[in-house]
Subunit: 338 residues, 2 copies
Amino acid sequence: MKKTIILSTLIALSSFASASLLDDAKKAGLTPIPTNSEELTKLIDNPKNPLNEAKVKLGKALFFEPRLSKSNLISCNTCHNLATGGIDGVSSAIGHKWTSNPHHLNSPTVYNAVFMERQFWDGRDPDLEAQAQGPMQASPEMAISKEMAVERISSMAGYQEQFKKAFNEDNITFKKIADAIGAFERTLVTPSPFDKFLDGDTKALSAEEQEGLKIFIAKGCTACHTGIGIGGGMQKFPLVKPYKYANIGDFKGDKNGMVKTPTLRNIAQTAPYFHNGAVWSLEEAVKIMGETQLGMEINDKDTASIVTFLKALDGEMPTIIYPKLPAVTSTTPKPEVK
Amino acid sequence: MKKTIILSTLIALSSFASASLLDDAKKAGLTPIPTNSEELTKLIDNPKNPLNEAKVKLGKALFFEPRLSKSNLISCNTCHNLATGGIDGVSSAIGHKWTSNPHHLNSPTVYNAVFMERQFWDGRDPDLEAQAQGPMQASPEMAISKEMAVERISSMAGYQEQFKKAFNEDNITFKKIADAIGAFERTLVTPSPFDKFLDGDTKALSAEEQEGLKIFIAKGCTACHTGIGIGGGMQKFPLVKPYKYANIGDFKGDKNGMVKTPTLRNIAQTAPYFHNGAVWSLEEAVKIMGETQLGMEINDKDTASIVTFLKALDGEMPTIIYPKLPAVTSTTPKPEVK
């Protein structure tokens, strides 16, 4: 009898604690990905580039389209590989002619990138549509000109019709190519156990994960890693103490030293970490964040606990049918690998 | 009444012609991909590496697995892209550190490669399992050592269990990695309208396509392009007259000057053509074949007709769900991009 009372009390206390933690998480601005598909669609949509099924399908094809690179060998998916958490698994992105990013910048994940307030590490682009135009043209990335991109795509059977369906207009432009890619990327959201927790299902996180969340909030991580993106805003980096790997590459943020806060969604899938991909261990990344941003040493126990929570941000990736792309024709500009 | 008789007579004559063409095609050794799935499975299976669902699924993951390259950036799919006819769309394969194939060799399609009697342009490997071991290790391709491949794969959660399911044994070996990839590749077959024709549905090919087939057989193309692979055996190349682009690269075939006959299935999807990828036009390729192998000039009309037939070899590609690959761990050997 006594035991039962103790047990019931413990359970009651535990669900009280969970409810209180949920409350703290909400107060810290952590927000779930909507489960309601209409609500989600409204959230991820861009009024300047409205989503439709044909556009998303076209965007998927173009995301995987290697003929959008000068060499025929590199697609968006090369650096933002949807099989590996939306990243490439190297410290500094490698592009055309095996050129490393000149600033030694790491490719951020494309999953949940729709929730980022700005795009690129220096936040220079406002949305995915603008972002998509960059890497295609950048000489160390896909290295194609706008004109060659349009010429390549226009020359292949099937694309004409797909653009017509997607945009209800006849011409293919570089902007439309990027807009279709952006539309597809908007759909790459990955709801996780943490979202269920935020939706009120406090059992969706284990006691250990909840403990990690508690520490994550208590230490102040949510100052930057918040919102639906659990990141995505601009923040001074490093803020309090120097970043120990600052000597790798020359990136210093935007003109005010502001750097985009990466999403923590699927963070356990997206090593290496930081703008210069210098850190492979999530534990080390957490400790560095403590130092540079919060000015504190996070001990091993708390670090492990935070990492346990971060793993609950692994989300369900959308099912992607690998596209079948059209064949080149006699008018398709040839690849240039040199 | 007279008109009806004439029409009926024409139809009867046309189906007689089709039946006779079908007979000629069969006599020339052209063979359809079985529609019966048991028969097909038996045909594509390798008794030394029996197919099973778990192995094919694992093989698909490994086919798309960039961590099987030294750099983390190149997978089997990079050069044998399943979105673009199973090829890379460049003349000479490009691999690790943007190295071009030292012999300027073109990547052959992986679709229907199971039907080839030998693998590689010089036919040096007997099957897909043996073939798969080569490019992973080749320094201008994926450039990984057997040991590093095994270490990378073994270090990632989930693979251990998948290998256990696929091979019913606990250890992961380089041979098993290649065997799983080979098993997946065996499933990449693409039945086409021509297969329906060979199965007796003479309406599956248009009159123009049938005319092309007739010329294709009459000219003697089926001397090499025959069997279920419509190619895949070893043949002297060039046979009668010199190959006009022989100066590109230094490949001369095996020690007897024998070169593997490429499949013509999906040939309209797999430009550029020949072992050195020197030719982008299918028409030009047909004419070159006439010269080098048959010692004849194929005129424009017959060439166009043959090309019309070749397009009926475009097959239905299997639906491929893009895999979700496991995350690297602290024990995963790091990428080496230099």
